[in-house]
Every structure is written in C-alpha cells, then in structure tokens.
C-alpha cells in the first residue's frame, strides 16, 4: 500500500509543491491508480500484433517553422539555468 511519506518523497523528487491538506486525497488517488494498473496485469494476452492505436494512422504535421519558446521560460524549472544552459548535477 502506498503511504503519505512515499507521496511526499515523490513530490520532492519531482520538484512538485504539494499542500499538506492535499496529501491524503493524493495518497488515495495514487492507490487507485496502482490498483487499476494491477487489473491490466490480469488481462488475457492476445497474440495479435496491435498495429494501430484506435485505428489511427498518418497523423502528420507539415514542415513549417513555429516560434520556439523564450529561453527564460525553457529554463524556468532549473531556476533560469546557467549562461543559457541546463546545468547537469554531478552524480557520485
């Protein structure tokens, strides 16, 4: 079973701010998601190759340039970055 502490930990790792009073609801939601995923595991496997998702194919865009984002927005999640770059944290 998933715990409040695990949710808190995931939030920290994902750099998400979660309000104290949201924690209980989120823990319940996450538990439901995991139970749902477990249901999928019990599904009978068909040998058929699934070629199409929802019978869709060929969803393309044409090769036309769209404006990119302002760099300050791109680097917002790394506190503005360093000299326009994403810094890479040293790993031990």
């Amino acid at each position: 079973m998933i715990t409040r502490e695990e949710i808190q930990n995931i939030a920290i790792l994902s750099k998400l701010f979660i309000d104290e009073n949201e924690l209980d609801t989120l823990t319940q939601d996450m538990a439901q998601i995991i139970t749902f995923a477990d249901t999928i595991n019990t599904a009978v496997e068909e040998l058929e190759d699934f070629e199409d998702i929802n019978n869709l194919s060929n969803v393309f865009r044409e090769d036309e340039v769209l404006p990119s984002y302002d760099r300050s927005l791109i680097l917002k999640n790394v506190d503005g970055g360093e000299n326009g770059y994403f810094p890479v944290k040293k790993r031990v």
């Binding site: 194919s57 865009r61 044409e62 769209l66 791109i74 360093e82 770059y85 994403f86 890479v88």
Partner: protein, 470 residues
C-alpha cells in the same frame, strides 16, 4: 597468422528539414543555446509529439536511393536510456518496423554493401563541458535523423571509406541532408571484429561511437584492428564493448559494456500513430528522385566519352554536376565543357568546400552559349579560354564580350597572307627551325596569333606555316 577485418557501419544523418521531428522548432545550426526549444523537444510531461511528414518522405527517398524496400506499415518506438543529453530519458526511434529495409550500395569493385535497415529517430541534445561542470543545450534535441545500418560486409578500411563517401554523395544528390561531417550532420558508429583469414565464424566485436571525420575513422579502425589482434595473439579474448577514439593518444579506449537491444527496453511509442505508406505513394516519391551519382558517372563516361577520372571529379559535387549538365545542352563535344570546368573554372574554386558550394559568377546557360560557339567552329579554343576568364571576372555573357568580327574568325587567304608576313619578318626563327630547333616554330605561331588577336585557327596556321617554310 593473418587476420581479416570484419566491419559494419551505423551512419546517422541529420535530415535537412526546416523543423524538428516532433515540433515546429527550427533545426537551424549555430543558434544561442536553448533558444530553439519548446515544451515538446525538452520533454516536458503532458506534451504530445506530432510527426513531421517531410521526415517520412526524406527517409523513404533515402531508402529508394539506396535500393531499399519500403515497409508499408511502420511505427515509432521508445528506446530507453538515461543520459543528460536526452530530455525524456528515452529516445523516440524505430525498433522492429523501420521505414526501409534490405538495400545496398555498390562499391567501385562491384562488391555490394548490404543495408539492413534505415529508420528515423530524434537526435539528442548537446553536452558542453566546462571547468569540470557539464551543461546541456537542447537545440539539437529533436532534430530528425536517419540511421542507416549495414551488414558486417566491410573487409578493409578502404571499403568503409568508399562506402561512406558514396553514401554521403547519394544523400546530397537526393537532397535529404547536407552531410557535413564537421558540423556533425553525418556521424558513424563502427562495429569491428577480426578473425583468422579463412575462418567463417565472426569474432567478438567492439563498437567505436560517433566518428565524424574520415581521418579519425581510418585511424580508429586501424588501431582497433591491431589492438584486437594483439589481444588474441596474447591468448586473451576481445570483450564486447563500446569504445571511444581519443585523437590525442591515437588510441581507442573503453567507454562502457556494449548494450544489447533488451537493455533499451524498447516498446511502442504510445503517443504516435502508425505510419502507413501505399505503393502508389512510394512510386510517387521514386518519380521525384533525381539522377543518382552512379547513373551520372555512367552517362558521362559512356555517352559523353569523358575520362573516368574527369567524370568522377564532376560528379563528386552535386552543384557542379548540375551546372555541367545544363552547360552541355545541345553540345556535340561535352568533353570541352568538362575540360573548361576542370582546368579553368576550378582554378577559382581551389578547395573541396568551394567546389561543394560552387558559387559561380556565370550561369550554366552562359557557358553553354560559349561552348556552342566553339562547337560550331565560330570561336577558337584560345579565344574561348580568354573569353571565359573575362566572363568569370565580370559575370557577363559571351555576347557582350566578343564582337561579331571576333566570331567571324580569319579566312584562309587572309591567314596565308599574315603567315607570309610573319615568315619574312622572322628569318632567324625560320633558320633556327630548319636547323632542328623545333621551339622556334612556336614563336612563329605566336606571332600569327598575336597579329590576328587570337582569332586564327591554330591548326590551319600551323599547316600554312609548315608549307611556307618547306
């Protein structure tokens, strides 16, 4: 014991699309770091990729130009690995249903290098190392690539080099990539193993990643060939691994153990739908392919009677070949055109890069006009050459540089009269020639050409002079 080299190649080529593979960000090279980015190409959660149609068309063109079969049904897969240059911790690539398969490129020897597959994928970002710190620029992240995978068909470094050169030229002709190795738009991963001559079983292979120069590739292959032989001769075993070539030491060094496909946990990319291409669409793309380098070469040698060396020099540069073809319109002696380009025009384009870009001041039509005058005997070679120089200097057409009088040439009786004058004015040159100094004849011819301002037919003048002196 002698050992045989066995090598296969994975070549990554950046496609010349205007935008990235899954978003509308530009693929322009050399922009400020992280300025060609959006939430899709930096891999933010909740974003949805949408495939650039041109990437599919270009990949199919590349496949058709290398004799591949095109898969009517193809799909994208996620290749999972964790590295800071990969924003999503997976690369969207193709696993078991690539766009193209089973092609080949023929080497000059007639040997076929088999192409196993060509698939499309996204490029990673670029890591920048500075004073012990590492930074990422995601401008390159999401730029479309094709990866061309060969069978282990190479048996020498020369074969590898020839293949890469041929591949590069084909892709440039087809126009799917500029294939600039120094800018990293063509990079090779080389698989290499050795085995005793005559042995059927393949040896354990190593892979050298990310080679983007012919020189390094040749050096790295040679080093790795020698190293593997040393390992085997000393009774040890070659370890299957990924190695990097260090140009400072001239050696390859171990990077990491080689991953196998299962290490990447490939699975279907759920955010992208199936790519389906009908036979009609494939044939339509085939009809748009330009004449390929091998066909051009064949035509120059067999139809135009140009020497293999000269034909290869022309066909080596796409823009030069196109210029040449246009300048040959209606010309009887195409050899004159190739000679003028190689011996005269190329003097103004000394480097490979300049010939590649071929920013010439005259149009092919202007050269064509000049050559047609030579063809019709209206302009002799000397005058044509000096006119061409003037054309290249000024960018003006032949009609503005050569007068009607020049084009009329000098008729035989007028020429005979001039020759007589030259002979009587230069008695010493005449007697020198009679005494066996063949060089003296040149000064007489020179005199005739000077007197006619280069308009005389040199062959005819020679004939008349010989008659007069005898």
């Amino acid at each position: 014991m002698t050992y045989e080299l066995v090598s296969g190649l994975e070549t990554h080529i950046e496609l010349s699309t205007k935008t990235k593979i899954f978003c509308g960000c530009t693929t322009a090279f050399g922009s400020e770091p992280n300025t060609n980015c959006c939430p899709i190409c930096i891999g933010l959660p909740g974003t949805l990729p949408k495939l650039n149609h041109q990437v599919v068309r270009y990949a199919i063109m590349a496949g058709l130009a290398t004799n591949c079969q095109i898969n009517n049904i193809s799909k994208m897969d996620r290749k999972n690995y964790v590295y800071p240059d990969l924003s999503k911790a997976y690369q969207v690539s193709q696993f078991d249903k690539p766009l193209c398969k089973n092609g080949y490129i023929t080497l000059d020897s007639g040997k076929k290098i088999n192409i196993l597959r060509i698939h499309i994928e996204e490029d990673a970002g670029k890591l920048v190392h500075e004073r012990g710190d590492t930074f990422v620029d995601y401008n390159r992240g999401g730029v479309p690539l094709i990866e061309i995978v060969t069978e282990p068909d190479f048996r020498s470094i020369d074969e590898v080099k020839e293949y890469v050169e041929k591949l590069q030229l084909i892709m440039k002709y087809v126009g799917v990539s500029d294939c600039k190795m120094q800018e990293g738009s063509l990079r090779c991963d080389v698989n290499i193993s050795v085995r005793p001559q005559g042995e059927e079983k393949l040896g354990t292979r190593t892979e050298i990643k990310n080679m983007n120069s012919f020189t390094f590739m040749a050096k790295a292959l040679q080093y790795e060939y020698d190293r593997q032989i040393d390992v085997i001769e000393s009774g040890e075993q070659v370890i299957q691994e990924t190695r990097r070539y260090n140009d400072d030491t001239g050696e390859t060094e171990s990077m990491r153990g080689k991953e196998d496909a299962h290490d990447y946990r490939y699975f279907r990319e759920p955010d992208l739908v199936t790519i389906s291409t009908t036979d009609e669409e494939i044939e339509q793309i085939r009809s748009l392919l330009p004449e390929l380098p091998s066909a051009k070469l064949d035509r120059y040698i067999n139809e135009y009677g140009i020497s293999a060396t000269d034909a290869a020099i022309i066909a080596k540069y796409r823009k030069v070949a196109e210029f040449f073809d246009e300048a040959c319109e209606g010309v009887k002696a195409q050899k004159i055109v190739s000679n003028l380009i190689i011996s005269q025009i190329f003097r103004r384009f000394p480097t490979d890069g300049e010939k590649e870009d071929f920013e010439i001041s005259i149009t092919a039509k202007m050269l064509n006009d000049l050559v047609l005058l030579i063809d019709n005997g209206k302009l002799n070679m000397n005058l044509a050459k000096s006119t061409l120089e003037k054309m290249l200097d000024t960018g003006k057409p032949v009609s503005e540089l050569v007068s009607e009088k020049d084009l009329s040439g000098v008729d035989e009786s007028a020429l005979r009269q001039i020759c007589e004058e030259i002979v009587s004015a230069n008695p010493s040159a005449v007697s020198d020639f009679k005494n066996g100094k063949t060089n003296a004849f040149k000064s007489l011819i020179g005199g005739v050409m000077k007197a006619t301002k280069g308009r005389a037919d040199a062959m005819l003048a020679t004939k008349i002079l010989e008659e007069l002196i005898k």
